[in-house]
Assembly symmetry: C2
Homo-oligomer: 357 residues x 2
């Protein structure tokens, strides 16, 4: 059964009439209408936890731009928050937990969250957005990778060196594995529930897998993402929903990531997309990979840089245009417009002499 | 002419009696004797600019540990400071420049520093250390890569997104190239002067080359490091001094880096050193690549992780043991001791049945 959405078709490496495009963090601070809501709500977490507001924010970028997907407005730390860690946000300092996880007792005390009771605000937001979007655009659900979520749970906050979790990894790997197992189980249920509530595809954000030593990436990050893929692909209600994996700074692991059986891989701007296509383009779709800093340049430069990426796939299926990372808060929305226009322009040019299905 | 130093021999891929070992930032805050001097001097920059103190600090780790090289205590931002940018350090905030470089006029106004007049404090420190060390250990001189130095000059401080310099790169690349040319010229003279003053090897630290988009790394970072290598290899006084290049997060560029004709490449802990050896080990030496976070673990774990790296080279020449990045300030010095002891242990075991030259 073929989807009506370009984004879903491209994830399945089917032909599309135009390369689908969306942006990580597309519902965010670079939009004045987002900042207005944020000011009224008094902060990020309140916005996430109020389904009507999360729905409104999710839809904001689609009202403004010709985007091919919405992504539910939420955070990768909703799971540990629901496990009782007390997520807070400091102004300009990012997230922190009042009770970081450090000991076997801490890990034992973590309760697997109930998806409707503890994370019902996410499911409710998904239902509201899905209802609003209907046939207009697909909705992406997401979670953090277990490793990435664990870094925040163990460090207690954003980190540069990851000293505490890495000491645990090297010295008490069984302890860390127990934690990663718990996060993985919760993540499986979480994505399953999001799909049941109406998302059309799911993405796992492995923001910090790329800071692991080479021989630690597979056992401490990919292994758990693989379990999530296996779980979703084995369940009747989720087996047809495309899964996107994205390890930032994970360009050297593309073959291993593809072997999980995921449908698509997100790549950052340090990856040579041509090489990536040659490596794994026969088995998965690729999503990316414009340097988010290109959007600081003028529209002419933006168009030239978009063109370079668009030329790699041409009419080959399996490309979703995106930034290589989330959009930065000080980007001019008109430059986003220029990027999307360039994707449309080169999509059309590339298909100019062809009859698309 | 064969050097008496293991470190220099290994850089030239000659056989050694024990794998040489040193650490990036080995003269640093993890040492109580360093902190004592720093407190007395009132800050980092005063230490760099007082040759007697810089000499004392350079030698501190060699008094404590069985290290195979000293590295001159200095900073990659001495060049822009000497160009008139007014380097300052904020407590816990890192370096910043009062006058960042943003316009063509700013770049035109930059004066090429005179090595003895403007950077004489570095040369004097080198002379003092070289005099103290004599035949005991080789001394490493260094500079930042032109791209890395430029990021601080343009951004004005440490950055996460590199918005300003990347906007310049994408939109006004000729302007950025003019800046990179100037830094390159100064860096060539700077390393030449350090060699003349007595350093036995030089290293170029490309801390931020790895954040560039794939197709920007060669033109904006490697191109200028290549010019430095070509310059030093062409001058009678410097042509025999080994050159080490290190791009953090540059694992995918090893072949290109080796093609510069450098003697050795530093690799971070995200690189598979076995693969790196297979790729470029026939033409260059490799330096690295223990995850600096391994030193948070206990000595038993440290030994096991050192062993993994040591096994890759065994008795093959061309390996210098190092961390994959600078040592962190909160590392226990006894753990450094454990790391070095493990390097010695496995060096001896690997050579147990062999007669080394």
């Amino acid at each position: 059964m073929e989807s009506k959405f370009r984004f879903i078709k491209a994830l399945k490496r089917q032909a599309v009439d135009s390369t689908p495009v969306w942006m990580m963090r597309q519902a965010g601070r670079y939009l004045p209408e987002y900042r207005a809501v944020r000011e009224k709500m008094g902060g990020f977490l309140a916005m996430c936890k109020t389904p009507e507001v999360a729905c409104q924010i999710t839809l904001q970028p689609l009202k403004r731009f010709d985007l091919d997907a919405a992504i539910i407005f939420s955070d990768i730390l909703t799971i540990p928050d629901a496990m009782g860690l007390g997520l807070k946000f400091q102004t300009n300092e990012g997230p922190y937990f009042e009770n970081p996880v450090r000991t076997a007792a801490d890990i034992n005390n973590l309760v697997l969250p109930d998806m409707e009771q503890d994370l019902g605000y996410v499911m409710q937001a998904v239902r509201l957005v899905a209802h609003e979007l209907k046939d207009k655009a697909p909705l992406i659900g997401f979670c953090g990778s277990p490793w990435t979520v664990a870094t925040y749970m163990v460090e207690g906050k954003s980190s540069k060196q990851f000293s505490v979790i890495k000491a645990m990894m090297y010295q008490e790997s069984a302890l860390l594995s127990a934690l990663l197992d718990k996060i993985t189980k919760a993540s499986c249920h979480y994505l399953h529930a999001q799909i049941a509530a109406g998302v059309n595809a799911v993405m796992v954000f492995d923001t910090w897998g790329g800071i692991l030593a080479n021989d630690c990436y597979q056992p401490f990050s990919l292994h758990y993402m693989n379990q999530i893929v296996q779980y979703l692909k084995s369940q009747p209600q989720t087996k047809d929903t495309p899964i996107l994996l994205f390890t930032k700074n994970g360009g050297q692991y593309l073959e291993k990531i593809a072997q999980t059986g995921c449908d698509a891989i997100g790549i950052d701007w340090t990856v040579d997309i041509k090489k990536a296509k040659a490596q794994v383009g026969q088995s998965v779709a690729l999503q990316g990979n414009l340097d988010p800093c290109v959007l600081y340049a003028n529209p002419k430069v933006i168009e030239a840089e978009v063109k370079k990426i668009m030329q790699v796939f041409g009419q080959s299926p399996g490309h979703i245009f995106n930034l290589g990372h989330g959009i930065y808060p000080d980007i001019n929305p008109e430059h986003v417009q220029a990027m999307i226009a360039a994707v449309r322009k080169y999509s059309a040019l590339q298909r100019g002499n062809e009859h698309e299905p």
